[in-house]
Subunit: 167 residues, 2 copies
């Protein structure tokens, strides 16, 4: 992806043009594949999955990929340091459950999602789509937005890539 060449702007400053450009980049343009475990797994297996996939958090899902919770490295380390046996602990005990989880959606702007990450002091957000489950509203996990995705986008934009990729 090369920067746009020969496309000249007048009458606006570079920063406001950049702001407009950034606001058009959506979560689905930069998100990663979600790493999930089921609600019936053990806390130990959730942490093993975290290492095998080399991710900082895993999402806990019910059948149909419905978001039930999130387990972060920080959560796991706190419990492991406390001397609990993770083998015997259900992941439900370790996870932060819905509705305490901050989420984003594929068509939210990355800028808004990045603000959520900063303001709520989390490392990642589940990307979810609304679904109906037995007449109730539920959230299907469709992706994962991390601080790494944001940092990578920053590098791409800073290197002049992204003009074609995201517009």
């Amino acid at each position: 992806a090369r920067p746009k060449v020969g496309y000249y702007y007048t009458g606006k400053n570079a920063l406001s043009l950049f702001t407009e450009q950034i606001s058009r980049i959506k979560v689905q343009d930069v998100q990663s594949v979600p790493v999930v475990v089921t609600v019936v797994t053990s806390a130990y297996d959730a942490v093993v999955t975290m290492f095998l996939e080399d991710v900082g958090s895993v999402f806990v899902v019910e059948p149909g990929g419905i978001l039930a919770g999130v387990v972060s490295r920080k959560d796991a380390l706190k419990v492991a340091m406390g001397g609990s046996d993770l083998h015997k602990m259900p992941v439900k005990v370790l996870m932060t459950p819905v509705p305490k989880i901050i989420v984003t959606s594929p068509d939210e702007s990355v800028l808004m999602a990045a603000k959520k990450i900063i303001e709520n002091e989390v490392d990642s957000l589940p990307v979810v789509s609304p679904v109906s489950q037995g007449g109730n509203k539920a959230q299907e996990v469709v992706g994962r937005l991390t601080k790494t995705n944001i940092a990578r986008l920053f590098v791409e934009l800073g290197e002049g890539r992204g003009g074609n990729t995201y517009s």
Copy 2:
């Protein structure tokens, strides 16, 4: 900090102007205060410090603030999961030691430092200044650059702040 108003560019596209602007932002403009423990502490105390300060990694230093190693949540979780007793383990056993650590400096561009974070798959970089220690070159820890710093900068630039702050 408000965006610059009434400052118009012509003859260049917005992305290349933004690229120029980003390349002038230095690590020292966005870095955080480093959280450090000494080389004689235990692995347990290093992890406790990590929780007390709510950081994802702590830097291990020799007298004079000389960088000796880094301990991440991932390192700590791996060892804790393995059933080791962190109380009895010196932090030196847990840490990733110099010279395996990727570092940055206060006057490096944030863009270059962000590339290091992405390419080396780390959450943070120690910000160091070169010092002489008994005739040998050493690195004094002067800051901490994290993916959170990068994400916060992205939000500031995306919201049209940063034009005054960093130029």
